[in-house]
């Protein structure tokens, strides 16, 4: 995932090596389910990908297998939630948010049941398996549906907190996880509140507003820029909806340039959400969205694709310097 230089920078910053957010999710869900019989996971031949095999072994009565049938999975999750279960529907985000979109819109969000939908192996986690397995559309389509809290955690710490938040939420929640091992970026003592972004680093020249597995790259880029005398702010915009507009506006007001970073199509993603927030408040800093352009995504592993599309320490630092010089 990282170049040797980026690895060295991570070590210099003391970023601890964590596990995949998916693993942190599965472990937290199992802990919650052990304490509360009402917690159930619903899977579609996806317990392996969701790292829920140990959960399934430990709590066979609290996992419901529906076979390869994602529409059925969302409907069933909605029904369970409507009858008092804390139901987590767990399936690859690519299938969950495309094939089952109508069930998400009507059965979960419109009916307003407190179901949790977990999009696993999201973004380009499946890399070279190609577009059928990428979810670069999920945040765009889900943002356009009323009554859904959308959370994209950056690291294991945010993941654990997001799962705990979702388990007690009284309205629909969508969680999005990737499968690469993450470095922990959350500062010690930080508290997680849904809808409130976390500022990981202060800075005045440029602000990186990022989420999910891209955050660490922004964090490394900020450190690289600091070596060149450029002060960069880094924010984990873990909640895509509702967006933390106060933090976004502060970034727009207090820095000369704003760069959004996301593992998503530029169309309809968090970059456009940030842009509209800034513009409607009359702010127009220098602005750049980094993510996946509207093209046939090249073949490659997630790391290849991140590098290809500039989601890397080096790529983001170069983008920042170019933007500031423009």
């Amino acid at each position: 995932m990282f170049t040797p230089a980026a690895q060295a920078m991570a070590a210099q910053l003391g970023l601890k090596q964590g596990r995949a957010n998916l693993e942190a999710f599965a472990e937290t869900l199992q802990t919650l389910a052990q304490a509360d019989r009402n917690v159930v996971a619903v899977t579609s031949d996806s317990r392996g990908s969701g790292k829920l095999a140990p959960y399934g072994k430990a709590l066979p009565r609290q996992i419901i297998e529906v076979g390869i049938a994602e529409q059925n999975l969302v409907g069933i999750t909605a029904g369970l939630a409507a009858c008092g279960k804390k139901a987590f529907g767990v399936s690859p985000s690519c299938f969950l948010t495309a094939r089952s979109l109508e069930q998400i819109k009507n059965d979960v969000c419109y009916s307003n049941v407190p179901a949790v939908l977990v999009g696993i192996s999201a973004g380009v986690s499946y890399g070279a398996l190609g577009s059928t397995h990428h979810s670069l559309h999920d945040l765009a389509v889900l943002r356009a549906i009323h009554n859904l809290t959308i959370i994209v955690p950056a690291d294991n710490t945010e993941t654990r907190a997001a799962v705990r938040y979702a388990a007690q939420a009284t309205r629909p929640v969508f969680l999005r996880f990737g499968k690469a091992a993450m470095l922990d970026v959350t500062p010690a003592g930080a508290t997680f509140t849904a809808g409130r972004a976390v500022t990981l680093r202060e800075g005045r020249d440029v602000a990186f507003l990022a989420n999910g597995e891209t955050v660490v790259h922004a964090q490394l880029a900020a450190a690289l820029l600091a070596e060149q005398g450029v002060s960069a702010r880094v924010v984990s915009l873990h909640t895509v909806k509702p967006l933390d507009t106060a933090t976004v506006l502060a970034a727009g007001r207090e820095s000369r340039a704003v760069i959004t970073v996301e593992e998503h199509m530029l169309t309809g993603g968090v970059g456009e959400a940030v842009a509209s927030t800034l513009l409607q408040a009359g702010l127009a800093p220098r602005f750049k969205m980094v993510g996946f352009p509207d093209e046939d995504t090249v073949t490659g592993a997630q790391a290849d694709l991140f590098r290809h599309y500039g989601i890397s320490m080096e790529g983001l630092a170069a983008t920042a310097l170019a933007l500031l010089a423009s």
């Binding site: 031949d45 070279a128 398996l129 073949t299 490659g300």
Partner: protein, 278 residues
């Protein structure tokens, strides 16, 4: 090509498939081995298509609904001359056109698949187009048994007999396993023959590793107005002792040592086959 020639070819292609997956570091091994004989029969004895006629409007169409077994499809297409064998070394590599699921960027691939439950509806559309044009081509799709849990298959099953699509063939790679384990434990789907019959299809059950049975089932026309469902009983991981009927080989990638052992087994099987017929 005789049954024996096909059997020899299938052993060679199994070796090629395993080397490809080992090189790519990813792939669907078990399901590739279970459908390889079916693909071989389709491309050598059934489909009216070749590298020369790949764009002909009258060609037969094959859409691989269980798109995850793309490595088997690429291997068979390379062997049939649709593209150079060396291209297989680039599957899943950075910037390669050979994506890890079927893509129309590749010569001979009819549709982009990989999300399960799409092949049959697409093939219905193709079969309807043939009927509308008065064309005589046939349309084939290969489904996985775990895949059958997707409701879209059953919507298509109903529509195919309603529209009397006797130019449509659904093939089932019935290897009884999916990712999590046995299909009967994940989402029981039997009795499949009765289900497809009840939806108005002509159903033929065959040994999916028997060339003569596959050939007969696929080349004998179904009764007029009936779509054909070929229920091919197969073994996931077929041909490699330690992969056969073992769920983890769904997307298990053979290590150096495992690859060597598998290749040795397949080579021994080939030597035996040559000996018997010598």
């Amino acid at each position: 090509m005789t049954d024996r020639d096909l059997a020899l070819k299938s052993l060679a292609l199994r070796r090629r498939l395993l080397r490809l997956i080992h090189e790519a570091g990813a792939g669907h091994t078990g399901g590739g081995l279970s459908c390889l004989d079916i693909l071989n029969v389709l491309y050598h004895r059934v489909l009216n298509v070749s590298p020369q006629t790949v764009d002909a409007p009258t060609r037969d169409r094959y859409v691989q609904s269980k798109g995850h077994c793309v490595e088997a499809l690429y291997t068979v297409l390379a062997d049939r001359g649709y593209f150079p064998d060396a291209d297989l070394d680039t599957v899943c590599h950075y910037q390669s056109p050979y994506v890890g699921h079927p893509t129309r960027k590749i010569r001979g691939v009819e549709m982009n698949t990989g999300a399960l439950g799409h092949g049959l509806p697409i093939c219905l559309g193709m079969a309807l187009a043939a009927k509308l044009d008065g064309a005589s081509y046939r349309v084939f799709t290969l489904l996985g048994d775990g895949e059958l849990a997707e409701g879209s298959n059953w919507e298509a099953a109903m529509a195919a007999s309603h529209h009397q699509l006797d130019n449509l063939v659904g093939l089932l790679d019935h290897n009884t396993l999916q990712i999590t384990g046995h299909t009967r434990e994940v989402m029981a789907n039997e009795p499949l023959d009765e289900k497809w019959r009840a939806f108005g299809w002509e159903v033929r059950s065959v040994d999916g590793h028997d060339y003569a049975q596959l050939t007969a089932a696929l080349t004998t026309p179904p009764p007029k107005g009936k779509p054909l469902f070929v229920l091919a009983h197969t073994v996931k991981g077929k041909g490699v002792s330690f992969m056969e009927n073992v769920a983890k080989w769904h997307h298990g990638v053979p290590s150096e040592v495992e690859l060597a052992q598998a290749l040795t087994e397949l080579t021994a099987a080939e030597a035996k086959l040559r000996e018997v017929h010598a």
